[in-house]
Structures are given as structure tokens and as C-alpha cells.
Subunit: 283 residues, 6 copies
């Protein structure tokens, strides 16, 4: 079972998104469509991909019509083909028309992330390397972006600056070295906080290992360095490969034996999945 | 002069984005970096592209250190090369470290949009066709996405459902036809509201033209149909080409003589521009 | 059909208004009225007028008692006589008592606006001149004020600074003249934005006409000037008369042939319509 | 000294009002006026009246330009003549242009309230009767409306349902009579809460007096009844006259010897004071 | 009947509290407990005390599961013994698990306050002295803290700085003396505002009495001084004893004949009542 | 160095707290104290204790007077004696008077927590057992409560439900046992999430150990059991003692060799530290 989306967060995102789009009112719909007309619609896949975010769609429609009726034929994590009918719904026509674009904007992004993640995961499935995300998400949508990564079969790195320690180059320099930084952190943070540190070469790796962090990030190392890092570490802590990992080289990275490989592009350069909503008015 | 970003909107977006990332506090930075340490840094381009969003970066840093000192060597709308130093800044080290990721997340997206837009605009610059965006933006960031389009040389379509009328297929069906829909709208909306209607073939175009909308959207027409539409319309109203317009076919579309060409991918499938921030602590 | 009120906006206004009035709790009601007592009531007109805002009343009551039962005998846009029973309702006694004042405060203002507007509209009904409002509304209530104008038979000018361009004297001076201002705007704003410009004499009108704005506001012109303006313009763009138009001189203004006449007093100097709520406790 | 306006409340109102008007950005100003242009302006009275709300104007301008320079020649509570220059200001041109309408909308309403109140207060100045307001204020602006009443020389009734007990007819009926209602309240509320009760005839007045409320509201009594009420009460508690008190009959009401006279129209039917802002761009 | 809690306030507090605890999602529950599993539970007293806040518990559960089923065996104001089952509930397992800690955090504090208050009230029940609270409450929870005092049999002092005047030493000094301060206040505030003044010795008391405040606070006087103060005052206004009143000396204070005794520790140094929630999953 | 308080969080708490107390305005201060009067004051300790929260006091004053001048003689984490002057400040008199109570309410609570924590820490300082807090904090103040624990020399447990996994009895039951629960969690959560599980006896401990959690909570075990648990575990993971640990028995618990001991009463049953603010008006 994968950690699900928090309802309160979804509502907040959807409320803000609808507010942004509808603004002072949907001029077109409120002028043309009678207040009590009913409509029905379906959500269709126009290209193959992995689903993520159906609850967000539900929430969009329910925000404008609490009595909307929704039947889903798939659920998050499922793969769909072009032409698949993902869900059907019926409800107030104005609500469906005014919510349509926002629902699609969010869903297409989430499915885009899930689909890209699932492609990487599929490629490295024979290896023990987990595919993980970064904090390179869109402002306001991090929990949605990260949920989509989970639906793609990936695993989440930190959710924010406050739920784990990741010591980067700059922190190390301020602290006066890797050992100093790790010592300072270990002396301070609570027992529920994991600590990861970034290293750029094998000397730094060896220094870091003496301080027992929970994980070490290998920053922009080449495959050969990664392989050596795995040897040196021999499972004393987790190793995360980071930097320039693509669909093309991900298998090579996995083969080095690193535990985790993180990719920023999964969330910072999303290709929206092509989906559409078809509505028709009820007589 | 192009419409600038509204400060109050930028502040709201930045405040939310920093809140999302920092959450209960930046565990790493607040544990390692002394409260009053100062740092300086620079923002670098790692690939060529068009700038958009420097004020958002300023706002990120100023939100955490109101006295941060920033000097920009470029401004929004400028093109940068790989290696260019875009801005320098110095201020409280914790502030710069905690704001860094959020600043980059927003800026890289905005520059990505501006860059893609500028590529299309460049290709069609010999034609009178304007490159315009859609409402396919990321929830909460519409004004930033649309500003980036402007910085790329594009022009904005509607900002939301409330600042213009765009009658789509579903609205037409409810109203009982193109003429009925346009008549209803013209009888109702104020004199400051523009009205556009979507048509899918040339018969619909002719019907629409009799009702004098401000613009007509040619939905997914092929080049031949567009050319005919331009002839039929003979400048009686604006024509917008929409659907499947890419960097590859945009010149063909422009050549048809349509006034506007809208592309959803400019904002729904953004490729982040590669930028980085380098920090170093002041002694 | 007239553009209806947006539910989300109404809820936000009502929630804020109830919060302002109830504050830390209704001391009188919560001390005297048992928590589960039920009451019924009616909303009565104490003077003749035009209705606007019944949904706001519904929303006030429902915010405090989601199960309140409401039957309306009239709807927005109807005219009522003194003594007419507008709606009946029954629900939790505390809810009705605590919401009563806020419901009336909003409704009486909206009906006041609708009634004043309908009086102007009635007077000029034989002419083609539309009665329009301004941005001189009460902070926080613009959408309610403007909806009330629609219910009075009027039409809305801009909803805010962001959904249309209105170039005033100061803008013209900055731009360096009417033509310069209009050229700058036309070169910049999107195709969905209407452009109006203010002129104070007939020379300015002629200059403006050469730039093809969507509308021209005749600022404080006398009747003779308006008539000339209508001749000169000969339907090349819309003409809006503005400044010192009252119930007394509105017919004269309409007779000049201007397309629109705007009146700030419709919303900045509202006379509340006299309405009352009578409650009685259920046994 | 009169209770001043709370800064935090003013800021909240102004922020909301500017947000409502500016929305996604001031299209006209941001398109025509260069970002760093400076302007100066003056606020002028176009008719005589009482000032209230100058701090709100200051707040409007400062919200958009924190460095705006403002010099006021009058202060709240002063009377101005037509033509008086009330304040001068200079600052960023965009800020002044974008804030102008909101500043005037609020100020003209507040001055309208202060002016009307001062007219009543002036008429009854030889009597001991205080002029007081009601809760019939505009949603969201109660503290501004009530401050304006103070600036007009009036005194405030309750600020909301939570800072005093006012037992009305319906509460009495639920409680089972005047004595029962007052007993219940006196047994419950804290010692810092004042208690007023509404009576409609002299029998009710006598019953109420036996329970020692802090004040009694004489609801819609005629002048003869008021005079008798004053005799009967002989200063045992405060008497408030309420219902249909106008500029015309206020002296008669004051002459009856009641302690307070409340008028809803002071705030529910405001006539905006005619003020204007003249701007000119700095070279 | 005692003034009940305002629903809208409770919802706001609960929403914020759940948001604070759940943050980006309940990692443990959302990972282990299936989305649709149902659970039932009971709320148990583990030590004797006075109940206050059951509606807050209801609100916590309903916020996460609107369909939760709750049966209470006691109500606010009741005394419970160790082992008593206070309420039973059944609903969505995730909702109950995620809300449990927040519900207890609030309830245990409120019951702690009610219990402490009831102990003082019980001790002084033979005297006419009322037990009252202060503004020494926890930020954000004032209305809950003060409601708990009422449930303990106490009475509330001011709810904030805005619903009554309490002139303290510093105010007196600024005004230039007791009489000056009271005169200034009486000349300014409305007729619904009660006025209390703090005195530190009997001379100040006598001076204060000449100005007829509604109440006088005897600040840190000893028992002998309080007795004299009661004599001097002879019921001309209310007397409040304040400072260092404990469970041990409260009877002595009551015996002096003061009308009110206020205790900050009732709310600033709360001992949480020991309560627990036992959950079991439904099959 | 200990993790400091996040400024944005402090501002939010202070803004809400001041809003709650000041409400519609400080009636007493705004009526008696001239708007521009200046005052100076000092914060005094009236009993010995550990300081925590001086920045919150600063923030309270600065929120109402951004130019307030503050000099602190101590800092967070320092111990003060009765009579010590902690800080001096001077600024606008109204601001200091209106902020005083809120500043003290927050500071006294935080110092109370820090003082209690420091007493436990002092007692067990010869042992390796860390003193930790729980989620039993006051709604809305968790980060302040937990910071105060750090200032007392304690260490923080989880900050919320989202930054660590703590598997409790109910979760175990749903999962079908300790191993099943831990397996499910380990298979799901990211590599930056620590996992703790609660056990109630030594059999459960042994089962848990086989699954390699990061920590195990010994729920309400007696000293003998704890000692055995320490033996069995032999440092394979962290052990947390929980339940009924007091100032009296904390040394005994520490002596068992557990790594951590958590105490809910540190934050759920706080005794406010006695502090006072003395103000005097500047001439």
C-alpha cells in the first residue's frame, strides 16, 4: 500500500485553482447555460500512460456540485491505453463546464509525472535501485507531484526542508568539513530525523562513512566512481546517485549497485499526458 | 512595454512556496549555519535561453532577508548564453540557503516557458500571426506562466473564465446553435467584454461571422481549411488557429494568414531551463 | 439570461460578514435561546422595490444552519410592493437570530441598488442607451453591487482594473497623447481585451476615433457636445456618457444617442430598501 | 480623545479592497505607465463635509508604494469646504494610479457617514441626547463605518453580537417575558457585559425597570410615549430612542429627554461625500 | 443556561490544529491502514474531573470523517469518575487514528481548566463571590479556555481588549490620575461598554468610587484591606479581588465579601485531565 | 547549536494571538493613551527559571511598532534568578500596552516548559538518556512548545504525523502484527523516514528487533522490564521509555540504560514561569 493523498491538502489546492480560474465568475457558462441544467461527461485517455490524481478530479467537480455523480473505471496507478474511458460523471452542467479545465490541468500534469516515473521504474525493475524524486516540484503542488511519483512506482525523497537533513556542499563548507557537519547535526537533531550528506568524490565518501549518516548522495559521479563507491560503502549506509540521470542511462546507473537514483526532471520538466473531457447536456 | 507582474501576486505565490518547502523550519540549515552568518552567491545560466521571473527570485530572497543585496546583470526578456552570470546577491546565509530551491523552481519554469515561446515567435517573426497561450497553466501560477509567455514575445489569451467570453462546443450545443449562443451573450455581457467562439468547420465559421464576434477559434482545422477560413473571413474578425501547433508546423500555420495561433504545450509541458545558484559563505 | 452570482464568492462574503458580526459569539442569543429550539420567519417588503440578493440571504442562514428550510415567493429581478412576503424559512432559532442582521444588511443594500437602477432603466427604456455602473462600489462587495445593477436592468462596466483597459486623462498624459496611449495599448494587450478611452472634448474624440478603440467615454460633456459626438462618431465605436447623470437628466442624455450612460451614485450612494424579517419561535 | 482606528484592521480591509480591484493586475496602468515613473497628486473636497478616513487613504497608497510621501492639511474630524486641498502626496506613478479608486471609494463613504452624523449632532447639540449608530453597516466595513460615526460626533452602540447584550422582542418571547429574559442574562453573563432590552410600550418599560438593565431601547415610540418613558424611568437606567429618527425630527426626539437616539440610516443609506484626486506625473 | 461555544470558532481552531499535526499527511496511518477500514472507539476518563469540550472532539472527528457516528454518555459540565466511558464513536479508521491526538490535546486541556475551576467554585459556594478568569489564556484558544471556565462554574472577565475597559496602573499614570482616566473614558466610550479600574490602596479606591466605574479591581490587597474596601464601597460598584488567589486561600478571600475573585492560573498553568481514547478496528 | 525558531511561523502565531486579544481595537488604551506617546519598559523575572521565547516577545512588540527599540540582557537557554531584568524596550506607548499581555502569555508558557525540561535534564545529566517531548502540545503552538523543550536541554520527538513513522498498538492490530506492520512500512516509505514502533512487553520487543526499526518505544514498562529490554536490544536500535515518567523517577529510568525518555507533561501540563512587564511613559 502506498501513502495516499491527504484530503485536506487536495481540497486546498483545488479551491485555490478553481478560484484562480473562475475569478469573478465564469462569464461564458453563467451567461449561456441555465442554472439547473444537468450534464454528463466522460474522461478519456488520448495517449497511453499511468494514472494519478483521479481524486483531484473528483474534488474539482464536487467543489462546484457537491452532488455530482462519479463512476471511475480505473484507479490511480493503473495504466491506460489511448481511447480508454477513465471515468464518467453527471451533475450540474455549469459546475462541470466551469471545473473542466482546472481538473484537466492538474490531472494531466500528475499523469505526466506518473507516466515518466513508471517508464524509468520499468527499465530498472530487475535491479534493487529505487527511483526517487527531488524537491524540484512546482510551488504549491509538491504533495501532488510526489504522490504522482509514487503512483509511477517511484519513492519519495524529503517532502521539505523540515522532515529530514540533507547536508549539501555549502553546509559542509560552513561547518568546516564533512565530519564537523555530521557531528553537529547528530548532536542536535532528534532521533526521528534521518541524515543524508552529499559527496563529490571518493575521499569525501570515506570521510562521510566514518560518521555514519543514514544516506550519502553521490553528486554527479560517473559510473565508474559509483561502482567504486558501492564497493567502499559495502552497505554501511544507503547510496543515492544524483545528477544527469535519464531514461537512457538509468539502467547503467542501476547496474552500479547504488540504492537510490534521483531525477529532478521527473517533476521539473513534465510532459502533460493527453487526456480529454467530453461533456454532453442531459435533455 | 509589456504588462509587468503584479507585486502582490508575486508575494503571495512566493510566500506560499516558501511555506510549502520550509514547513516547520529548515532542519539542515538551522542546525549547521550560524544565525548571523552572511553569504554571497550568483545565479548562472547553464544553457542558453530567454529570462523571465527575476523579480520572483528577488522576492524569494527578500522574504527571508529583507536586507538582501541584489545586482542583476540581465533583465526579463533578455537572452542568456550558457555560463552567463545573471545576478549576484549577498545577504544572510540561512536566508539564501533556505530560499535557493524555491527560487530556482519558479525561475527555471518561467524561463523554460519564455524560452519555448521565444523559439516559436522567432520562427514566425516574418508573419503577422501572433503566438498566444491558453488556460492550460499550472494551478496557482497562471499569472507567472502568462508573464513568461509575454517575455518570450507571445501574447496572452484570457486570464481566466471571467475576463472574456469563449464559447465552446458545449456552450453552443446548450444554447441551440452558434447564432443563439452569440445572440444570448451579446444581449447580456457588458461593453468591455470580448467574445470569441469556437468553430470546427467552414459552415460554422460562416454562421458565426454573421453574428460579429470579436474572434473565432478554428478548432483543429488543417492548413487548407485555415486558408479558406482566412479568405471567407476577410478580416471581419480575428481568427485563432488552435490544436496541435508545434515548433515544426508553426510556420505553415502562420503562412495561412490566421491572426493568432495558440499552443497549450507552451505552459502545460514545460522544460525547465537549466540554471544554478552558487553560494559561498562570507568570512 | 443575466450572469448569475458566483456561489464561491457569495460564501466568502457571507462568511466574512457573519464573522465580523458574531465575533466571539452571539452573547444574547446563546444565553437566552436553547440550542435546539426551532423558529420560523418571513422576509417582508416594507416599501416597493426591485429584488436582488435572495441567494445571499439563503447563504447567510445556511452558513449557521445547513438544514434550514427556505421557500421564496419571489426571485431576483422581481418587483415587490410594500407588504409582500418575499420568503419564508424555518430552522434552528439561534441560527436565524444570529444571521438576521447580516442577511438584511446585505439584502437591503443590494435591493437598494437594484431599485435605483431599475428607476433609471425604466425612464430611458424607449431609447437604445444602456444604463451602466462604475467601479465606485463598496470594498469587498463589488460583485454583489454589480449583480444588483444587472437585476435592476443595468449592464456592467469593468469588474476591475484587470479585465479591460480604460485609458484616463492621467494615462494619456504619461503616454504623450491619445494616439500614443492607444497605440501602446493595442501593441501590447491580448486580443480578448477591450479598450476604452476617456475624452473631454470633440478634438480628442476625433483623435481617438482614428485609433479605433472599442469605446470612448465622453467625460462630463454637456448635452450639445454629446449630440455632436454621436454625429462625429457615426457608430464607429461605442460612446459612453459619464459624469453628473441623474434620474432627472437621464432621459435627456439618452436622447443624445449615446450608447451607454454610467452613474457612480447607483453604487456609491445607495439608499437601502426597507425590508424586515419577522421571526417566531416554533412551539 | 476618541477611539482611533486599529491599524491591523485597516490594513486588512485595504489589502482586500486593492486585491478586489486590481485582481490579476492593472492592465491599463501597467501597460502605459513606466515602472519607475513618479507622480504627485492632491486630494480635493468638491463639497463641504466632515473628514473621516485619511489613514485609510494613507494605507492604500503605502500598500502599493511603501515609500510614498504624504502631507495632510486636515485631519479626521475636521470640516472642509468645497475646494479645500485635503492632502498632497507623491510617489510611484503606477502605485498612485492603481490605488486611487479604492482610496476614494472608502474615503468618500466614511466622509459621507461622518458628515451626516455631524449634521444630526449639530442639530441636537443643546440637548444631552447622544447620537448613536446601529449594526446596520456594510459587511466587512463595520469598524470603519463606526469610526466615521465617531468622527461625526456620534457615539457607538455595540460593535457586534459579542460585546454587549441587546435583548430584542424575539429573545423576550423565547425566554417567556421580559423579567425572565433579563434574569437569565444577569445570571449568566460576566460582570463586564452591559445589558440592554427593547420595549415597545410603557408597561414593558415598567417591567424592565424592575430588573435593572443598563439601558432600555424604546422601539418606535412616539414623542409622547418617549416623554412618559423618561418620567417613569427617572434616570434609573439609560433610555435609547430607536426607529424613524431623521434629521427633521431629531430635535423633537432629543427634547423628550432620552439619553440616546440611534439611527440606522447613518450607515445603511450613505451619501458619498464628493471628493477627487488629481494626479500629475513628475517630469 | 451558560453561553455555548461558537461553532465557527471551534471549526477554525480544529482545522488549524489538525493541519498542524497532520501536515503533509499521516505517514503511519496512511501507509498501514486501508482507506476504507472502519473502526470504533471510546473516550475514557482515567481520573475524576469536570467535562468541557466534547463538541471539540466531535468536530475533530467530523472534520476527517463527516459521517462519523458519535454517542455521548455525558455532556459538558458533568463530573466524571476514573473509568467512566464518556463517549463512543465509530467511523473511518484513518480518520479516527489521525484525529485522536489532536482531540485529546484540546479536550484534556479544557477539562483540566474546568476541573480546577470547579474545585475553587466548590470551596466558595457558600459565599456570593464569583470565580472569574483573566486574559492569561493560550494564544488562539481563548474562547475554549473561557468556555471551560464557565463549565467549571466560573464566570468570564473580558474576552479581549475590545469588549470592555479595564484601566490599569499604566493607563492611570498616562491619564494623570484615576479621576482623569475615568472621566476620559466615560466621555468617550459608548453606553454598552463597562468600565473597570485597578486600584492598589484604599485612597485610590475612594477616588475611584467618586467616578462611578462599573467595577474596581483590588490589586494584590491583603485580606484586611479587602474587608475595608468592601465596607468603604458598600455596594456602590463591584469589587474584584486579584493577585495570588489559590485553592488554599480562596475561602478567606470570599469571606471578605468581594464580589469577584480572578485567578490567572486557572488558564495559564493548566494541569491536563487524564483521558484516553481506545480504538479497535471493525472486522 | 540548537535548531532555532522559524521566523515565519513566529510571525503567524503572534499575528493570530494579537488579533485574538485586540479584536476590534484596544478600547482602554486607544481611549486613554495619545497616539504618539512613547513608553519604555522592562521584562522582569519574578522566579528563577530557564528562558525560551525572547524572539516571540520581540515579534509581539514589532508587530504593533516596527520601530520599537529592544535590548536583551539574556538570551534563550539562559537561566535567570528572581529579580533579573531580562530585557528593556522603548517604543510607542499604545503598542507596548496593547502587546504586553500577549507577549507574556506566550513567553511565560515557553519559559515554563523550558524550566521544567531543564529540571529533568539536570537530574539525569550523568546518564546517556536523552529527555524528549511528545505531540501532546497545545494546538497552534507546537513549534514554540518544542523549541522551549530544546531550550530546556531536551530533544524533540516527531514534529507531526508527517515527519516520521510511529507505529502504535492500533496500527499493529490493523496490520496483523508487528512484523507485518514494519514490513509494510519499510516497503513503502522513503529512505529519509525513520520508523519507530511501540511494544508493551519483551516478546513484542524481540519480534520488533528482527525487523530493524530505527527505534522502539517501551510503553509503560516497569524499571525491571526496561533493564531487560536494554540487555536484549544490545544497541541494535534506540529504546524510548514512555509513560508515567516524572521528576521523581526519571533518574531510575535513566539508570536502566534506555536511550530516550519521553514525557507528555512537559508540554500538556505547563506551569507558567512568573514574569512581569513594567512600563513607564516617557515624558
Amino acid at each position: 500500500m502506498v501513502q495516499s493523498l491527504n484530503d485536506m491538502l487536495v481540497k486546498r489546492v483545488v479551491e485555490q485553482a478553481l478560484g484562480e480560474d473562475i475569478g469573478r465568475g465564469d462569464l461564458t457558462t453563467d451567461t449561456i447555460v441555465p442554472a439547473h441544467l444537468r450534464a454528463r461527461g466522460k474522461l478519456l485517455a488520448k495517449q497511453p500512460g499511468r494514472l494519478a490524481g483521479l481524486d483531484v478530479v473528483r474534488c474539482c467537480f464536487m467543489m462546484l456540485d457537491p452532488h455530482v455523480d462519479i463512476v471511475a473505471h480505473f484507479e490511480d496507478g493503473d495504466d491506460v491505453c489511448a481511447g480508454d474511458e477513465i471515468m464518467r460523471f453527471s451533475g450540474n452542467a455549469r459546475a462541470l463546464l466551469s471545473a473542466e479545465r482546472v481538473a484537466l490541468n492538474i490531472l494531466q500534469r500528475m499523469c505526466g509525472i506518473a507516466t515518466a516515473t513508471s517508464q524509468v521504474v520499468e527499465r530498472v525493475k530487475e535491479y534493487d535501485t529505487k527511483v526517487i524524486d527531488t524537491r524540484k516540484t512546482v510551488p504549491g503542488l509538491r504533495m501532488l507531484d510526489k504522490y504522482a511519483v509514487r503512483m509511477g512506482g517511484g519513492v519519495n525523497h524529503r517532502f521539505g526542508l523540515d522532515d529530514g537533513v540533507l547536508i549539501k556542499e555549502n553546509h559542509i563548507r560552513v561547518a568546516g568539513g564533512i565530519k564537523a557537519a555530521l557531528d553537529r547535526v547528530h548532536a542536535t537533531v532528534g532521533h526521528m530525523v534521518k541524515v543524508e550528506i552529499e559527496v563529490t568524490n571518493l575521499e569525501e565518501l570515506e570521510e562521510a562513512l566514518t560518521c555514519k549518516p543514514d544516506a550519502i548522495m553521490l553528486d554527479n559521479m560517473d559510473l565508474e566512481q559509483m561502482r567504486e563507491a558501492v564497493c567502499i560503502t559495502s552497505a554501511r549506509c544507503l547510496l543515492e546517485a544524483s545528477g544527469n540521470i535519464t531514461l537512457d542511462n538509468c539502467v547503467d546507473v542501476a547496474r552500479t549497485g547504488v540504492d537510490l537514483m534521483s531525477m529532478g526532471w521527473l517533476t521539473h520538466s513534465v510532459k502533460a499526458l493527453d487526456l480529454s473531457i467530453q461533456l454532453e447536456m442531459a435533455e
